[in-house]
Symmetry: C2
Subunit: 333 residues, 2 copies
């Protein structure tokens, strides 16, 4: 991509992000009842990359330029995503999100439950306000996806108690928990713009692949990342015994002795954090998990690229979506 | 109403209730992921009077007989109602519901949060499956109502910390927390049947009045009811210091000394339950709160009756809805 096109893409992305931020706060919130909408505003003001609304608008812009028509749906999807963060943080008893106390820490558990419920309802109401084509289809894809995300979250919870999770099960869990929402975003953009069915399906799978790659990269960076760049403490997943792609893959690949060593190490409540991270990482190293992750990530990226390449839309229209997809995987290892 | 008509109404109500129960369980639930749908099935199997779907179908039957067309929406509204019970029970730390342990007691808090979220999504999906007229209007009324119910719940929470709640504020809280959902049910039935706008509005207010009367009667029966008939322990609201219509009304009517006496009595953690109930009841008696409740209930019933009387629909078609409305207020004091 030559320099002007690259600048054009960055400008397009920046403008869309501004449009989304403005729309997210354009409506304001009722001042009453006290306590219901403050947490909603708090959560939706905490920034983030707005990946889902960006994907929806960039996908819409493959076909049409009047993004205002689908903007309420983009805001609705972001509202939905933040509802899941709010309730997931409560369930995980997480203290911080985007550098600020989580809602149940800043307020209390009941506020988190009720404001989260309100956000889920508001998400539907916002999607319903879209002025684009095929609103009923948008809504029905969104609703199906929201149920799938609940399924993914439940699988994640169930995996905590299991040591026999297969790679296929793990991939299906992250697909449901995080990737289908990205896929839904991209497909909604195409549906709202009136794209042909085959292209809607391509864009769905395109974003699903991006989501799968992103999630595995997240697991990878927790072990092999640069803490300063990654923005999280290295080894956090190891310390909390999270079923990541590395752990699931290592348990599947290891011989029985290594498997026992790995599980004993993770279950050891006495072991110092640094030692635990070092020992688990050394098992991952022995089993070649870093290369295995990178190969899996590259497989998904290649599939995503191929789908976007094959999409019968002018290359100039694809450039911003392509640039955005690349920016998602640009995190330093 | 003569005997054959009465029998006809009872038969109609019984048949509709069977239709609803069957539809609630017709679809079945995915077996996986384990743990997500069991609580949903558990909650939706626990019986109850199915007041909201009954109101929707009876309202629809004022105009049309093909209730199957709107049945998914009726099931959706019942699913939504049970979502609110599930999350409210969690927030109130209630142990029992319909004679069975609540979801967070039988499973755990996180299961209650996530299954409750799934039910809210499923409620939307079920309403979307209605095959009747004006589906988009149904959905948008349902979504608006669901947000209002969150507002009502938040007002209720906020009232716990206040001693200066006015009667008007109390009535607005119960309107939002419980009555708008009954109103929504009746209006959805009319909308789905293609009723004229003015009649939709009449039926909305009709059911809203029923809901308001029912809620005040609930408060009344907690103090003046017959425990055996009411099915709850008398004085429960007094013991937990709940802001009921009686308490709010008594605090508004009392002179300063009585007000202080009432608040001190309710705040007294040492006082025996029987004494507390007796003393608060004696204040209510002195202030004439029983008559005051009965008058307010009758006002709402009269408004509901007048609205149904004035509805330009054949009397024979109104009879089942009228009988159902009467059955809602038939509880013995």
């Amino acid at each position: 991509m030559n320099t002007p096109t690259r600048h054009h893409c960055i400008r397009t992305m920046k403008k869309l992000l501004e449009t989304i931020e403005k729309a997210l706060h354009a409506e304001g919130y009722p001042s009453r009842p006290e306590g219901l909408y403050e947490p909603v505003d708090y959560v939706l003001s905490s920034g983030g990359k707005r990946v889902r609304p960006m994907l929806m608008l960039l996908s819409y812009k493959l076909y049409r330029d009047d993004v205002d028509a689908i903007l309420p749906a983009a805001v609705g999807l972001e509202t939905y995503h933040n509802h899941t963060l709010l309730h997931d943080d409560l369930m995980d008893r997480a203290d911080m999100r985007h550098g600020r106390p989580t809602v149940h820490r800043r307020w209390d558990d009941n506020t988190a439950i009720l404001s989260g419920d309100a956000m889920l309802v508001m998400a539907f109401r916002r999607v319903m306000r879209a002025g684009c084509a095929n609103r009923e289809r948008l809504l029905s894809l969104f609703a199906r996806t929201a149920e799938e995300v609940c399924q993914g979250q439940q699988y994640d919870v169930n995996f905590e108690r299991r040591t026999d999770v297969s790679e296929a099960e793990y991939l299906e869990m992250i697909r449901l928990k995080t990737s289908v929402l990205l896929a839904c975003a991209a497909a909604m953009g195409a549906i709202g713009a009136g794209a042909p069915e085959a292209e809607v399906r391509s864009l769905y799978r395109f974003a699903e692949c991006l989501g799968l790659a992103f999630q595995i990269e997240d697991d990878y960076l927790d072990v092999y990342g640069d803490a300063a760049v990654f923005g999280k403490r290295i080894g956090g997943d190891i310390l909390c015994g999270k079923k990541t792609f590395l752990l699931v893959g290592a348990l599947a690949r290891a011989d029985e002795a290594t498997r026992r060593e790995l599980l004993a190490c993770l279950a050891d409540g006495e072991m110092a954090a640094e030692e635990k991270i070092a020992r688990v990482t050394s098992v991952y190293d022995r089993l070649g998990m870093a290369a295995c992750c990178r190969a899996q990530i590259e497989t998904y990226h290649a599939e995503a690229r191929a789908l976007l390449d094959a999409l019968p839309v002018a290359e100039a229209r694809k450039a911003p979506l392509r640039a955005f997809a690349e920016s998602l995987s640009g995190r330093k290892s």
